[in-house]
Symmetry: C2
């Protein structure tokens, strides 16, 4: 049976690569860099193109009030909760073409490979395109999956604003996504499970020469905004002892956060100050204000919170020593997620059956899976990416690596959705595994 399956499941890598290239071209900036901000012209164009592809594959497409898009391959028993896969297609400025997109286009390819193998699912299989996994526009990541899982309520419609100060409500309506935001929430039994295929965005798989990572936990990210108010003045005239330089305070705080992440004793602790804005930002003015945004993550929520505490203390110390005011605001502090043991076992078993090496690992990056895990059994399949880099134009995952991931995904979906072919007999959803929730 295993051998038959290998023969029958043909991932059409050329088709997939060509579609990834097409998707990458929906970008606000020239290749190889990609920028596709949620609800932008490029995002809307890409969505329209993707919906056409899904329709061509016979999938039934539904969109919710925030633009989360669901493309369903109807199972023979549509009353059963579907098994889902998917990811995001929004891309931060100056990023690459694989983050998120491999999970969306690869998810579609997995479905097509199953269709072309003659497989008929008992459970429906759904491909999900999540809206705004990236925090670029609204300052908060995983907008779509937070709403689906109830981690964000409908009040986000007016509280979330983009840099132009427009509300989520107005922006989504302008993009054609109407309706009550509360309607985006899914019932806890809506899905039988969710599996996300994603590039690792880290160096481990490549370094070890392992083609598949089975994610067992997703790190707990927190976002902190830090506003520093000092005292400006003429760069030539304000003497050093009387200065209250907001930027130098920001510099010390950022270095203190780095030190905090380096001293937890765990490699899983990371902290980044990705945004530093200095006001007025002129060579001959002592900075009067500075603004930082920091990202603090760990797979251990309490260790993450200890880093946040060190950051808070550093802010207070710097404020006192430099005579500036420092206001911190934790805008986001999510709990880490443990992946579903049953799905993790299935993915591992699929790899074994296919003769594909795999390692269990943790995800340090944010994913929609973090929020899907709150409403259904969830797991992730990682594939290697070159030098572990992501969110840069030289992000790269080879066609072979992607095809392998798609194969494992397809097989995993099949094991939870029904029968591979009539000759193979039925798969009981979750055979050989248990969906723990």
């Amino acid at each position: 049976m295993k051998t038959e399956r290998l023969v029958k499941l043909q991932v059409q890598s050329n088709r997939l690569q060509s579609e990834l290239a097409t998707l990458a071209a929906f970008s606000a900036i020239p290749a190889p860099a990609v920028e596709r901000i949620v609800y932008s012209h490029q995002d809307m164009q890409a969505r329209a193109w993707l919906k056409k592809l899904c329709a061509s594959a016979g999938l039934v497409v539904r969109e919710d009030a925030v633009g989360n898009t669901f493309a369903r391959w109807q199972g023979t028993n549509p009353a059963l909760p579907a098994i889902a896969t998917g990811s995001h297609i929004d891309a931060i400025p100056h990023s690459g073409r694989y983050d998120g997109t491999v999970g969306v286009m690869g998810g579609l390819e997995a479905i097509r490979a199953l269709q072309e193998s003659g497989f008929q699912p008992t459970r429906s299989i759904e491909l999900i395109l999540f809206t705004s996994e990236e925090p670029t526009r609204f300052g908060i990541g995983c907008l779509g999956s937070r709403l689906m899982s109830g981690s964000l309520t409908a009040s986000a419609d007016t509280t979330l604003r983009d840099p132009s100060d427009a509300t989520l409500h107005d922006i989504r309506h302008a993009a054609g996504f109407a309706g009550d935001l509360a309607s985006t929430r899914l019932a806890p039994d809506h899905y039988a499970g969710f599996v996300e295929l994603h590039i690792e965005q880290g160096p481990l798989l490549e370094r070890r020469g392992v083609p598949v990572g089975v994610v067992t936990a997703i790190a707990a990210p927190a976002s902190v905004r830090i506003a520093i108010e000092g005292e400006g003045g003429h760069a030539g005239a304000i003497l050093m002892p009387t200065r209250h330089d907001a930027f130098l305070a920001a510099a010390e705080i950022s270095l203190a956060l780095e030190a905090a992440a380096k001293s937890t004793g765990s490699i899983d602790s990371v902290a980044t100050t990705g945004i530093c804005e200095v006001f007025p930002g002129l060579i001959n003015s002592v900075p009067s204000r500075a603004r930082l945004e920091a990202d603090v993550r760990d797979i251990d929520g309490s260790r993450r919170d200890r880093m946040l505490a060190v950051l808070e203390k550093a802010c207070a110390d710097v404020a006192q020593r430099r005579g500036v005011t420092v206001a911190t605001k934790v805008v986001n502090r999510d709990d880490p997620a443990t992946c579903d043991a049953g799905l993790v076992s299935t993915i591992s078993a699929v790899c074994e059956a296919q003769g594909i090496a795999c390692d269990r690992m943790v995800s340090r990056a944010y994913h929609d899976s973090l929020f899907m895990s709150r409403i259904c059994p969830t797991a992730m399949i990682f594939i290697p990416c070159r030098n572990g880099v992501s969110h840069t134009p030289d992000e790269y995952s080879s066609p072979e690596a992607i095809a392998t991931g798609v194969l494992v995904l397809a097989e995993t979906l099949a094991r939870h959705a029904g029968v591979l072919s009539s000759a193979d007999g039925p798969y009981t959803p979750g055979t050989g595994t248990s969906l723990s929730r």
Copy 2:
């Protein structure tokens, strides 16, 4: 004779204050903040208004190829080199209404006060409006006075570019200033002397309760651009030990520069990192690039250069330790200026004659006087400003403080320009003083 002069020279403070208010309203941003970038719509409107005022006062107005504006009150012996005063009206973003403007409008008021007293100059007296004292648009300060003094050559026409990448040549022509940039240069004997009235932009006069500062030296500023190239990547996935964070490198460099300025042993050493830009500037991306601009000043040129050397070393150390590349470029490194002993004596004598207390002091801020000193005897008159602040919207100098400065300026110009009134007999230019160059 001293008493008569005091009676006759009437500074019309109300007129001057009203004009300063009018000038402040030529601003790109709402009051009390001022922004008047060189050649902007607001700058051009302000120039037109000022030229009308000068014409009303009977002054003959000339503009050079870069927009330096000269308003001449013709003396009875026009063949003699004129004595000049003036300053700038361009204002950095979010600045105040007194920096530069007090020297321009106060210079005009000094001329009018002399006219209204019945004074007739032997030498001509010229009011100069210098183009772009602020480095905001072209990245280099004192554009007009550098060109006049030959400290900048005509090649600046194509090498200087604004943030939109337009050349000085194209921008000045669009503003209506045509002609060869080389024609802006003045002969060394063009002026008999130059005296600039300016707010102190520091706290010393206010703290001491002294209404006039007689500037004996102007600090030597240097500007350094620092470009840091690290390695970007996903904030969640790149582990701390493998990072090459460009922003954290920038933070360390900025703090090292601060330490260098604080450890020279002299209060006259100041260093400021006023610009820090982080790329890509996203909360979930490790900064791959950062750009700093730093301003380093001292009245002692070699001490200033030692700070620059410490900065260079810090850049090299940080580059090595963090595995980033750091490129530094000293875009500007001016020599300090010593004010003309004769003019300094005249200003002191004028203060004494008027019963006005004065202190000799140094200027730590950049001024057009720094460059004028290279082509003619130069000095500056400082007046107090509240809390020593400048380049912020709450910059303030009282009407009384300004009027006092104008009175001292007018008297100083008169002593070098000729006779106060026919009844007083002639002043030999430089009486009681010697113009040392």
